[in-house]
């Protein structure tokens, strides 16, 4: 059963330079307890897609399409209903824990706040629950650490706090934005292990640059390029049988596989290339690629790709 289904989603930002098409037609779904990885170069719209799901965008943003969560279209419900879903049903672990924690509020209070809002616990019980959450993410001496401020935590510890905060109300879906970015290898492994453990019973949208992390944690992986998905399949399929030239390029740019970067730069989201958005950088480009925009086609069971060459 699909927990979340995104249909024809577009998220555009009007700016003085033109319309930024950060998400330009995404169709995807996440089933219960599934971990879905979203991978792509910087600026391709991953975070915007994550924020779109819980409508965490400024009011002049243009959003079209449907985001169906448990049968309800999140783009049609009221702001008050949306607020009840944020944190309680769908939690978001934002990119960059250092700037995402409020510097003047204690860590314990930042976690307890969500608990008080959604679970109608009193101050004391919420605080106790927050301490339990800190304990669950393996922060040593949690009852003392709860009274400390974010700047007193290391980068890895802040990430743990973000995870504790996201999971405090036991959401069904977690959107985790680059949870391992900027961490050194040992800490990264610990965070991956921790996330696997605490989200075992939950669905997750994992946004990451790190294919290693994605392969470790995900059931399915999608590659995003210039506001759209270009390929998605099970983890094994993506690694063993990649079809889209962008996916192949991405895999080749991994340290273990030659470190060959994809030539060229990702296009401006204001002025997208005609035809296939990847064609200016593609080594297999054909005449049709410049004229027609390829659709998503299912090549194999559950393996979708957007390419004329595949």
């Amino acid at each position: 059963m699909n927990l979340l289904e995104i249909i024809d989603l577009k998220t555009h930002f009007p700016t003085s330079n033109g319309l930024v098409k950060a998400v330009d037609t995404i169709d995807m779904s996440i089933s219960e307890q599934e971990t879905f990885g979203l991978i792509g170069e910087t600026g391709c719209g991953k975070s915007v897609l994550g924020h779109s799901i819980i409508r965490l965008l400024q009011s002049d943003t243009v959003m079209k399409g449907k985001i169906i969560y448990k049968g309800k279209n999140l783009l049609e419900i009221s702001e008050a209903e949306m607020r009840n879903i944020r944190g309680e049903e769908i939690a978001m672990i934002l990119q960059n824990p250092t700037t995402s924690l409020n510097p003047v509020i204690t860590v314990g209070e930042q976690i307890a706040e969500a608990i008080r809002l959604h679970q109608r616990l009193n101050k004391k019980d919420a605080k106790q629950k927050a301490i339990e959450m800190l304990e669950a993410v393996r922060i040593p001496s949690p009852s003392q650490r709860a009274n400390e401020y974010p700047h007193e935590f290391s980068g890895g510890m802040k990430q743990r706090v973000m995870i504790a905060m996201g999971l405090a109300c036991d959401p069904a879906l977690v959107i985790a934005d680059e949870p391992t970015k900027g961490l050194d290898v040992t800490i990264k492994i610990q965070i991956v292990e921790l996330m696997k453990e605490v989200t075992a019973q939950k669905a997750m949208l994992l946004i990451t640059h790190d294919l290693g992390v994605a392969s470790e944690m995900c059931d399915r992986i999608a590659l995003m390029y210039a506001g759209e998905l270009v390929e998605y399949a099970s983890v094994i399929e993506i690694f063993e049988n990649p079809l889209h030239p962008y996916t192949i390029g991405f895999l080749d740019s991994l340290p273990g596989r030659g470190l060959v970067p994809i030539p060229g730069m990702s296009p401006s989201l204001i002025d997208l290339p005609d035809g296939c958005r990847f064609h200016p950088r593609c080594s297999h480009v054909m005449e049709i690629c410049r004229q027609k925009h390829p659709g998503m086609t299912e090549m194999k069971d559950g393996h979708f790709v957007r390419c004329f060459h595949a």
Binding site: H51, L56, G87, A91, P103, V104
Partner: protein
């Protein structure tokens, strides 16, 4: 924290000494002789004998550095000397005048905060809207309008046309009726500055990632603004407002003069005019002391508000 405060207080001593030396010498070299000015009779004639007597009595015949040391020694013992004019202790004059200035400063500050905090927040939330633009145009006008002009306008409107409030004066101990107009003049003037600061620090804070985190948790928007954003935006704001209050405490000569408010600003100007230098000297040191104290209090509250520097070893 206590260690930090003590250290800061200790650091104030050289600054205060410097201020006192500077004001002592400026006064000494300024034109006009206090003995002659004060001993001029109603007929405009100066009696050389009484001038001499006055000089000896006030110690003005001694060399400058001796005068200074005598004065300093007295100050250290809590004696700010005696006014040349009234022969009453300088400190008593300062106390009375400062009382009036303090009252005016507090009411002005309250007015300024009542105006600037909501205005700054609303402008930031609705930034670039018509409301925001009109608030900020109003603030620009407020900043550029000189106090004496605003004061006179208020005086004309409320004191003369509407006749709701007394035009000027101190009333009985600076009562509410008399304080409103001068406080409004000072308060709106400083609100124009602080509202803009509130707006810009609020705007900056609202763009931070932790605001997004709060929203992602399902925190209602009024709490995002009132708790998550305001707590951060107040840090630079408090510094600014504190310094502003420091200026208010030094007494606005212009406003005190227009409204006949017997505050410390007017005491200084009157004393300079009368060459009552003992009084000027006392006031200068008092004002300097006040200013550094306010600065220290601002610094301490800044540390209290911002946990990132609260625990730093001072």
């Amino acid at each position: 924290m206590l260690g930090y405060i003590l250290k800061r207080i200790f650091q104030l001593i050289p600054a205060l000494l410097l201020v006192s030396v500077a004001s002592f010498s400026i006064i000494y070299f300024a034109p006009g002789d206090p003995a002659e000015t004060l001993m001029t009779g109603p007929d405009g004639n100066v009696n050389p004998k009484s001038v001499e007597e006055f000089r000896t009595k006030m110690g003005l015949d001694k060399p400058l550095h001796i005068q200074y040391l005598i004065w300093l020694n007295n100050v250290v013992h809590g004696n700010f000397g005696y006014s040349y004019r009234t022969e009453k202790p300088v400190f008593d004059h300062i106390k009375t005048s400062f009382g009036a200035t303090f009252k005016l400063a507090v009411v002005s500050l309250i007015i300024s905060l009542i105006i600037s905090i909501p205005l700054g927040i609303i402008s930031a939330i609705k930034h670039n809207s018509g409301l925001d633009i009109s608030c900020m145009v109003g603030a620009s006008l407020g900043v550029s309008m000189p106090n004496f002009w605003l004061g006179l306008l208020l005086m004309l409107l409320f004191g003369i046309y509407l006749d709701w409030l007394p035009v000027a004066g101190y009333g009985t101990g600076g009562d509410l009726e008399h304080i409103i107009l001068p406080a409004l003049t000072l308060g709106t003037g400083s609100a124009a500055v602080t509202a803009r600061l509130m707006r810009s620090s609020m705007l900056e804070v609202l763009g931070q990632d932790y605001i997004l985190t709060a929203r992602a948790k399902g925190v209602p928007e009024w709490m995002v603004i009132g708790k998550h954003a305001l707590k951060n935006a107040l840090i630079p704001f408090v510094t600014m407002v504190g310094l502003n209050f420091g200026y208010l405490l030094n007494g606005s000569v212009v406003v005190e003069t227009i409204f006949g408010w017997p505050g410390i600003g007017r005491l200084i100007v009157d004393s300079i005019n009368m060459r009552d230098y003992m009084m000027v000297q006392g006031c200068m040191v008092f004002v300097a002391l006040l200013f550094v104290t306010v600065n220290l209090v601002v610094d301490i509250s800044y540390r209290y508000l911002d946990p990132r520097i609260r625990y730093e070893k001072a």
